[in-house]
Symmetry: C2
């Protein structure tokens, strides 16, 4: 039910994946009537691999997490997370309220051993072939050194699994590359990571290096990560609008635009922001993928594919195993 568009987008994305992935089953949680309406529109009523589970409440996009926890005991979000906890589903995808998804995820699925709170991680395109994984993108405003270290370990593991990399290059985001830069917490995290043999630690990087592909995992606190991500969205919109305006200025520029359209389209396909939809709530005992609220059908499809891949790879189990292993080594 979540996101700016709700079922028209989510159900349409399900319709695509149900065709391309013959072994995937869907449980759709939400208002039964609305979901059935959209399934009917897409000729998917009574599809053997789609079940609708009626919820009698929904978490609104502006509900405080506490409200979602205490007052909405039958929300679609809660029921979906419970289905993962109970083994009826392998992964949960939501375009809904991020704060509520985190709080409910934490309560229902619980955290992996040694992890305090989930972090939000997503891949971001770079100038190299492989994307970079960045966390935390907004789950934790305050992060001490220990938490940043946990993020590094989890991000490292996720990147290893999803990109099939042996030793991802992990870096801490800072305002300079020298040891003396940044807050005390950041410098402590730097010291911790330098002593962490499980991680191929590269030291500090600055934010302009995120997109260059020099490293595979960028670790930062949720406040900075969220601001960097949102500023990038804002800048992309600004540049897209300015280039559109440049091509719309007069008849000649419009003609140029028409001719250049296939090139612009190839460019868009290449940077394809939809492909990067679907952030993971990492650190939970289960796969939870958060889609951007404004996701269109294609973007939602990518979020679902991300959930399938992560549950196929049993990402939470493997991260948990690695954490236990590191813990043993310490003892």
């Amino acid at each position: 039910m979540g996101g700016d568009h709700g079922p028209p987008v989510t159900v349409s994305a399900v319709a695509k994946v149900i065709q391309s992935h013959p072994h995937v089953k869907f449980l759709l949680f939400g208002q039964s009537q609305e979901l059935h309406f959209w399934l009917k529109q897409l000729r998917l009523s009574e599809h053997p691999r789609i079940s609708v589970i009626a919820s009698h409440d929904d978490v609104a996009m502006d509900d405080k997490p506490a409200v979602a926890l205490k007052n909405k005991r039958q929300s679609s979000m809660r029921l979906a997370l419970e289905s993962v906890r109970d083994g009826r589903a392998n992964a949960c995808v939501s375009a809904g309220n991020t704060g509520a998804l985190m709080a409910l995820g934490r309560m229902i699925l619980r955290m992996l051993p040694g992890i305090d709170r989930p972090a939000i991680i997503s891949s971001i395109p770079t100038l190299q072939k492989k994307p970079v994984y960045m966390l935390d993108l907004g789950a934790n405003v305050d992060c001490d050194a220990k938490r940043l270290q946990q993020f590094a370990i989890m991000g490292n593991e996720l990147c290893r699994l999803l990109e099939n990399l042996d030793r991802p290059r992990v870096a801490l985001l800072n305002v300079g590359e020298e040891d003396i830069k940044g807050s005390e917490e950041l410098r402590s995290a730097h010291a911790l990571l330098q002593q962490q043999p499980a991680i191929f630690y590269q030291g500090f990087i600055e934010a302009d290096q995120i997109f260059s592909g020099e490293v595979d995992v960028v670790v930062t606190d949720g406040f900075t990560g969220n601001n960097v991500l949102k500023a990038s969205e804002g800048l992309s919109r600004y540049l897209a609008e300015k280039i559109r305006a440049a091509f719309m200025r007069n008849l000649w520029t419009r003609l140029c635009g028409l001719l250049a359209r296939p090139v612009i389209r190839a460019f868009k396909a290449e940077i394809n922001p939809e492909k990067y939809n679907g952030a993971s709530l990492i650190g939970l005992r289960g796969v939870v993928i958060k889609s951007h609220g404004s996701a269109n059908i294609e973007a939602m499809r990518f979020a679902i594919l991300e959930a399938i891949e992560q549950s196929n790879l049993t990402v939470p189990e493997l991260i948990g195993r690695r954490l236990a292993q590191l813990d043993d080594e310490r003892i």
Copy 2:
């Protein structure tokens, strides 16, 4: 002497401004021989409005501020700042080491009353006609509520003067618009600004709104501001490279690129990153403009023009007066 290129860029930019601004005089601080060489190249030897002041030391780009303060007592940076302190110059422009410029600026020019530390402020283009002013862009990693309030007051004043706005819309950068979002310090700053009648305070904004032009001044701590700024630089480079690659793919796309070149050029002129070169070290008792280290001649020219405008408007004096006034009102 500062920046990635040094005198070839700085002296060439001076050559342009000396022609366009017949009342402006330049003092060039640096290695005498090198400066005279470039002046000669540009046929500016013995120009009546250009003086070379020989320095016997330079602050390196990677010198720690403490080194610049203690060991380099005859550096070009220091001599330039002293010329502002002593009234021999109205403004100082540097493309050198930011940390050293701040530390030396603080020591030599001193702070305006009530201000602890300088902040770095720059204008950033938006989808609206007017730019947005953002601070702090990296001078202060840790900022308490009081300091964020000082930034808001100084940013408000600078924007009022430079954009000729009566009541700039001032906002605090946060990861959400609700009162409960963000760190304790940020929420305290929010409360302080809500009670500040001198400021037309708009509350929290998120980073994607920076470029939309919804507000005129964005206040944040130096760590976040620096990361947002550098991420924007990195993303711009990424997108520029991707669009270039799209046009270079084959003969047909190259032809499209050739045809679209005037449009792309108009787009570049419109977003013109050079125009936004020249950040101010606000809060000092004197105009100090920091150019990007990688500035080209055109970008350096804009930094110099910024210095001229701010000294014509007597920005530090007016900000100081406003601070004193607010202080009186409080009593």
